[in-house]
């Protein structure tokens, strides 16, 4: 899931905000991207791939979901 956006590196181009399919990211008043709705991320990497300045990091692990089998958290 989306883990962090480095404000130092972000140049405020808005690409990640424009392209996130789930609308998880927004620009703040300073024009920097931030994770507005972290719980909606589906780990698609679209934002990170679009970022021209390497400011975003998406962790490859996806959201933990309710169990399929009892006695497991899978």
């Amino acid at each position: 899931m989306i883990e962090r956006i480095d404000a130092e590196k972000c140049i405020g181009c808005g690409q990640c905000v424009r392209l996130c399919p789930l609308d998880a990211l927004r620009l703040n008043e300073e024009g920097k991207a931030y994770i507005a709705y972290p719980e909606d991320c589906m780990t698609c990497f679209i934002c990170e791939r679009a970022c021209p300045s390497g400011a975003l990091y998406v962790h490859p692990f996806k959201e933990q979901l309710p169990s399929v089998f009892p006695d497991s958290d899978a």
Binding site: R18, L19, C20, P21, L22, D23, A36, Y37, E39, D40, M42, T43, C44, F45, I46, E48, R49, V58, H59, P60, F61, K62, E63, L65, P66, S67, V68, F69, P70, S72, A74
Partner: protein
């Protein structure tokens, strides 16, 4: 917040700009160049829906190949539940769409002699896919190239607008309303015809599939369209912790799942097909192994010929980035056994439309995965093919319809529009449940293996009671702090609707066939029948069985794919 309304008039409104919507727009504007077409999507403008993340594998019957042989494969694969005449028409056009993609600049793998490299699917004799050349970006490039065509054809495209209701003019569908998910602005679209290309319902399980939630299918149902294939859910096997794409090419080349004892368990459940089979059957076996205490399940690629790995190792796109990140964390699918789990992802339930996308509701068309096409079993590359062909045909159908139809006025619905607007924004700014909380409740009810994989009456009834409780108690109590949450709220509502139909349909089909496994009814029963749903008197779903009209089809059902397996 700006809650003004914007009114837009177009000849055809296409709801959803995924593979099906893009193709529908393309075909419509070719067939009726004097008319206007507009695509509206709740996601980013021009993002292309799920196709953006797709590998780009594409099934096609190439010139000179026998369409009937493919249909026969599918009659067998679907255990008789194949609409043979529609499937024949779809397959007949599949090679044209592949050629179109090539013309638009998409590249597919070729052999040394320059002909296309194919990968046979699911142990079937003829069905095969053509892998995109750039494994990790195949679908993305398809989107880019298609959108370029639409720009040339002057098709209008809007993003970040979620459609919430259809407009009617008498019997006819006359447009839709929705809102901007960023600004909250209300949108009214007056249209002479509407194409629902909104994708299927689903349960937000990541893996690139958190946008299909079934609102479009629910809108079609509300307008009077019939639905079908709701007893079939796509249970996919995925790595426990991350996403991975490419199984459909790995399995035929020697990839296999093994249990904790190191056994290639599919050899036991299907001595004939072994590991190279449909994920529906693999996930049944996985669930049985895990239940019997022989989990976890691992994916083993050690038997794959090293020369083949060029087809497999992600070269680019999100798959490469994912691969590199996992490697940095010390995880390598090609070196280590990784743990995989079966997981219900999306619903196969959709609108019962004819080959031109006609839904039976005048002016309302449907295309792509918003329609019911497969009964729960699915060959790699099938979706990009069916969605391109059915999108293309729905565009043609809508153009033909408008040729003979009277022109609708864009006035006279003011009171209705005002009502829909109030309705759309009602949950805004209220106190209540968060959409995500409701989504989690739905997932908790739907995911257990005896609801989603090895279905039993008890478990299905238990889940149905919970989903009905969610629909009557939780859904009306949801609130949205802003337009973003308003969109998620609509999605949660549609997910609950899709879940109820899945459960009702799964209970009704008291047999095991194609992608529906009832542990308490493990055998096939009688003639193949489809299960259709329509809106009854008090809005309640009414089920109708329809026997597959084999007497009017070319091919008798002589063999069943399910007979390759022994689970009971």
């Amino acid at each position: 917040m700006n809650y003004d309304a914007e009114v837009i008039t177009t000849d055809v409104l296409i709801i959803g700009g995924g593979s099906a919507g893009l193709w529908a727009a393309k075909r419509f504007s070719e067939a009726a160049p004097e008319r206007s077409a507009l695509i509206v999507d709740k996601g980013p403008k021009d993002w292309g829906g799920l196709m953006t993340m797709a590998g780009g594998d594409f099934d096609a019957v190439l010139p000179g190949e026998d369409v009937d042989a493919w249909v026969q494969d599918l009659v067998y694969y679907f255990d008789g539940l194949c609409n043979q005449s529609d499937m024949e028409e779809i397959l007949r056009r599949s090679g044209d769409r592949l050629r179109d993609y090539q013309k638009f600049g998409c590249e597919f793998f070729t052999k040394a002699d320059g002909t296309l490299q194919s990968v046979p699917q699911r142990g079937l004799d003829h069905v095969r896919l053509y892998p995109a050349k750039l494994k990790g970006r195949g679908g993305e490039l398809m989107v880019k190239n298609l959108v370029k065509q639409l720009k040339d054809q002057k098709v209008g495209r809007l993003g970040r607008i979620q459609i919430t209701e259809l407009l009617r003019h008498g019997e006819r569908i006359a447009g839709a309303v929705g809102f901007d998910t960023l600004s909250g602005k209300f949108y009214v679209f007056h249209a002479q015809a509407v194409i629902l290309a909104t994708g299927m319902g689903g349960w937000k399980t990541s893996y690139g599939k958190n946008t299909p939630t079934g609102e479009g299918v629910a809108l079609g149902y509300g307008a009077g369209a019939r639905l079908m294939h709701f007893e079939f859910g796509r249970v996919w096997n995925m790595p426990r912790y991350f996403g991975w794409e490419g199984q459909t090419t790995l399995m035929p080349l020697g990839g296999r799942f093994i249990n904790a004892l190191g056994e290639s368990f599919m050899d036991k459940y299907s001595p004939i097909l072994g590991a190279n089979t449909d994920p529906h059957y693999t996930t049944i076996a996985m669930a049985m192994e895990i239940r019997a205490g022989r989990g976890p399940i691992y994916f083993d690629l050690s038997r794959i010929n090293p020369a083949d790995t060029v087809l497999l190792r992600p070269q680019n796109g999100w798959q490469k980035l994912n691969y590199d990140k996992l490697s940095a964390l010390g995880m390598d699918l090609f070196r280590d056994n990784t743990e995989w789990v079966p997981q219900m992802t999306v619903s196969y339930g959709g609108i019962d439309a004819d080959i031109y996308g006609r839904t039976g509701v005048p002016g309302l068309f449907a295309a792509g995965t918003a329609c019911a096409t497969e009964p729960g079993v699915y060959a790699g590359g099938f979706a990009l093919m069916t969605t391109s062909v059915t999108g293309h045909l729905a565009g043609e159908g809508a153009a033909a319809f408008l040729q003979g139809a009277d022109s609708l006025p864009s006035t006279g619905q003011e009171a209705e529009i005002a009502r829909l607007r109030t309705e759309a924004f009602k949950p805004l700014g209220q106190q209540g449940l968060k959409p995500k909380e409701v989504v989690t409740c739905i997932q908790r009810a739907m995911f257990p293996y005896d609801v989603s994989i090895l279905k039993t009456e008890n478990a299905l009834l238990h889940a149905l009671r919970e989903i009905q409780r969610i629909r009557t108690e939780d859904v009306p109590r949801m609130a949205a702090a802003d337009p973003h949450y308003l969109m998620k709220l609509r999605e949660a509502d549609a997910m609950a609707f899709v879940s109820e139909l899945y459960l009702r349909a799964s209970l009704a089909r008291q047999e095991t066939r194609a992608g529906h496994y009832r542990e308490d009814f493990p055998q096939r029963k009688g003639e193949p029948r489809w299960l259709l749903w329509s809106k009854g008197a008090e809005g309640k779903p009414v089920a109708t069985w329809k026997t597959v009209p084999l007497e009017s089809y070319k091919h008798p059902v002589t063999r069943y794919y399910q007979d390759n397996f022994r689970f009971a």
